[in-house]
């Protein structure tokens, strides 16, 4: 007979899991009930499917390929600001998509810095709209993620290997083939697969930079079928396609996706003896500068144009900002209510597939869930009236897989180390949470809450589906301003949104670490 393990929040954890599954399943059933399978998919739908897959492939491949030299350079150089740069690589994760898009427009857009430069030397301007724009934005978001994953893998190479390589006087090329390539071969496919899955459900990027028959993702097609044609049948059919595609890809990718460590702790450079001089050194420097510029220039543009636009922001922006804060805080509350009991249950359960519950939120697209719940709510109430609560709830569901990945391992550690002591003292239920789990997991809970708050604050997805003229979150309001070409007001809104997203993350993360001991 095995060890008698401590059971933590079994009942509430199972209830939370059932609730999550029910919320998603209900949406799915509603969608299926409205889909007329006989009608089939039109040519526009097939083109959306093709585009979705193709842009995901391109985004994944380009992000990963670009990340390799940057990660390599970061792995073997030490310089002032390196730790800050590595931390900044995590920033796109909590950056509102629409803010990044505005920054990319300032740099790569029609009247952007790049085209101004091209114009000066007499070259034709490049367009940021369409496939190239969608991929550019996806690379902006995912190249840093890929860099972090690869850097993490680089740092798992034992220092002894590099010492041996230095001892043997291997050339950089030989070091790459003998030491680094075997590691890359293991980590690169999983990294690319993760980015591929993330880009499959891309909505806000396609909404702002894509569109039209040649650059519409499935997610965007659902939105258009819903919003413009109110064709629930087509929205439902596309939702099913999206679920099959993204869910299937997520399940397949699960086998090769590397563990995502979202936290810090990657600023410890290994002692390296190779490639300290000459061409390698100059190349690394150039790569790091280029990578940092690609990341920082759009952000800089947001700040600069935002400062100018702040004075021009209409009253509606401030109202939307207040709404967004409310939605984000509710989302955090919902997330913690679901994630904490779930994490307790998963961590104390005997292994098994219970972790898959959290992944359900990842494979089901927000717009699919939104469409389903619209269909369910519509007969009994005004769906637009519940736009904000639904947004907060769906945002929490989207953040759940990340939150579980953050919370479960340390919870398992805490129970492994102190579980027996808690048992001898008869600690269970609330006292167990109050005196053992919450204090031990403060930092991770703060981090997960901050992440959820930032994701929810910047989310432009389900709210676009549900909102009417009276209700808007800040990202939606900003999108509306961009749509009506009030670019200065939009820039001001972008700066406010950026500050709110980073602010809510910083606040929760800091609260988790504040006075943290042992």
């Amino acid at each position: 007979m095995a060890l008698r393990a401590l059971k933590v929040s079994r009942a509430s954890g199972i209830s939370a899991a059932v609730l999550v599954v029910a919320l998603i399943l209900a949406a799915l059933i509603a969608v299926v009930s409205r889909a007329e399978f006989g009608s089939g998919l039109g040519p526009a739908d097939w083109s959306a499917i093709r585009f979705t897959v193709w842009q995901s492939v391109l985004s994944a491949v380009i992000s990963t390929l670009l990340a390799i030299p940057i990660a390599r350079a970061l792995a073997r150089r030490r310089f002032f600001g390196r730790a800050l740069l590595v931390t900044l690589l995590g920033a796109p994760f909590i950056l509102p998509v629409i803010v990044a898009v505005l920054g990319l427009l300032a740099v790569f857009g029609r009247a952007g810095w790049l085209n101004a430069g091209l114009g000066m030397v007499g070259l034709a301007p490049l367009s940021i709209y369409g496939l190239q724009g969608v991929v550019l934005a996806h690379v902006f978001f995912n190249m840093p993620l890929a860099t972090r994953l690869l850097l993490q893998a680089w740092q798992t190479i034992p220092a002894e290997r590099f010492r041996l390589a230095a001892q043997l006087g291997l050339t950089p090329r030989a070091v790459f083939r003998g030491v680094e390539w075997p590691m890359l071969r293991q980590i690169v496919p999983g990294t690319a697969a993760l980015i591929f899955v993330i880009c499959l459900t891309s909505f806000a990027v396609a909404l702002t930079l894509g569109g039209g028959p040649r650059a519409t993702t499935i997610e965007l097609a659902i939105y258009q079928a819903f919003r413009f044609d109110f064709d629930l049948n087509r929205a439902a059919l596309l939702s099913l396609v999206q679920l099959g595609l993204a869910g299937g890809a997520a399940l397949l990718a699960l086998w090769i996706i590397p563990g995502v460590r979202l936290g810090g702790g990657q600023d410890r450079p290994l002692q390296r003896w190779d490639a300290q001089h000459g061409v390698q050194r100059i190349l690394d420097g150039a790569v790091i500068v280029a990578g940092a510029a690609f990341l920082l220039l759009p952000l800089g543009a947001v700040v600069i144009s935002g400062l100018g636009g702040l004075l021009q922001t209409p009253e509606s922006v401030w109202q939307a900002a207040a709404t967004s804060i409310g939605v984000a805080l509710s989302s955090v509350a919902v997330l913690l209510t679901l994630a904490l009991p779930l994490a307790g249950w998963i961590a104390s359960a005997k292994r098994g597939g219970v972790e898959a519950v959290g992944l359900l939120g990842l494979s089901a697209s927000p717009l699919m869930i939104g469409t389903g719940w619209f269909i369910l709510i519509n007969p009994v109430a005004d769906p637009f009236a519940v736009a904000l609560p639904v947004t907060a709830l769906v945002n929490a569901l989207m953040a759940l897989p990340f939150a579980l990945r953050i919370l479960v391992p340390p919870l398992r550690d805490a129970l492994g180390t102190y579980g027996r002591l808690a048992q001898t003292l008869g600690m269970q239920g609330w006292p167990l949470w109050r005196w053992l789990i919450l204090p031990r997991l403060r930092a991770q809970i703060g981090f997960a809450a901050g992440l959820t708050g930032a994701l929810s604050m910047g989310d432009l997805g389900i709210i676009a589906l549900f909102a009417d003229a009276d209700r808007a979150t800040l990202p939606l309001q900003m999108y509306r301003l961009m749509g009506s070409y009030q670019m200065e007001a939009a820039a001001g809104a972008a700066l406010i949104l950026l500050a709110l997203s980073l602010g809510i993350f910083w606040m929760f993360d800091k609260a988790g670490r504040w006075h943290a001991e042992a």
Binding site: M1, A2, L3, R4, T417, Y418, R420, L421, Q423, T424, L425, G426, M427, Q428, W430, P431, L432, R434, W435, L436, P439, R440, E517, A518
Partner: protein
């Protein structure tokens, strides 16, 4: 009196038989080679490992399936006997009430226990700022306030130096006699047995032998025990 009748513990390919009676107010030492199952035996008594078969009873009451906290037992492990994020006072207080809602009276009891083990002025400190010996004292203060009839020690002082260890054993002996408890401790050291034990449980070859008086056993050990003691 604690009775373990026909107990069988299975962990993977490891099996341990035990049939023992533990009399009140005596000090028992559990000895035997590494991996023989000394800790496993204590874990079974403490309720962390379930019995595959057999019955465990306390004063005639069946406690075979009782949760660890519901047994008449307090246990100190090799490590992690204190929560590092709580103060010494809170750590000891958990022995009085697991929800730490201490009345003034209960708080006084905890403070009294801290004074008794020599940590009167350390109440607000965290375990991380204490020395190894002071940490052991804090854990023993909790044993004192718990005042359970059985105290199980799974080598909690293994990391301490010899002098400090003897000091702790003396303190343990004093505390169990104050609370009129029964002590069951795992040890590797024959001198511990001479110092503290009345009875010895020898664990070897998949079997926990019934307790035998320490003095006679150490003077005239059976062949397996002689082989172990060297």
């Amino acid at each position: 009196m604690l009775r373990l009748e026909n107990g069988l513990i299975i962990q993977g390919s490891f099996r341990l038989h035990a049939d023992l009676t533990i009399e009140p107010h005596l000090n028992y030492a559990v000895i035997g080679p590494s991996g023989a199952g000394k800790s496993t035996l204590l874990s079974a008594l403490g309720g962390f490992v379930a019995l595959e078969q057999g019955r465990l009873s306390w004063q005639g009451r069946d406690i075979t399936d009782a949760a660890p906290g519901a047994r008449p037992v307090t246990m100190l492990f090799q490590d992690n006997n204190l929560f590092p994020h709580l103060s010494v006072l809170q750590n000891v207080g958990l022995g009085v009430r697991p929800d730490l809602r201490l009345s003034a009276e209960e708080k006084a009891k905890v403070e009294h226990a801290l004074i008794r083990v020599g940590l009167g002025d350390m109440a607000s400190r965290r375990p991380g700022s204490l020395s190894g010996g002071q940490q052991s004292r804090a854990a023993l203060a909790r044993v004192l306030v718990q005042a359970r009839p059985l105290v199980l020690l799974d080598e909690p002082f293994a990391a301490l130096g010899p002098a400090l260890r003897n000091e702790m054993l003396d303190l343990v002996q004093a505390l169990v006699s104050e609370t009129e408890a029964t002590l069951i401790m795992v040890t590797h050291a024959p001198e511990d047995i001479r110092r503290i034990a009345d009875e010895v449980i020898f664990v070897e070859g998949g079997k926990a032998h019934p307790p035998a008086p320490a003095a006679t056993l150490m003077e005239n050990p059976p062949p397996e025990l002689r082989a172990y003691l060297g």
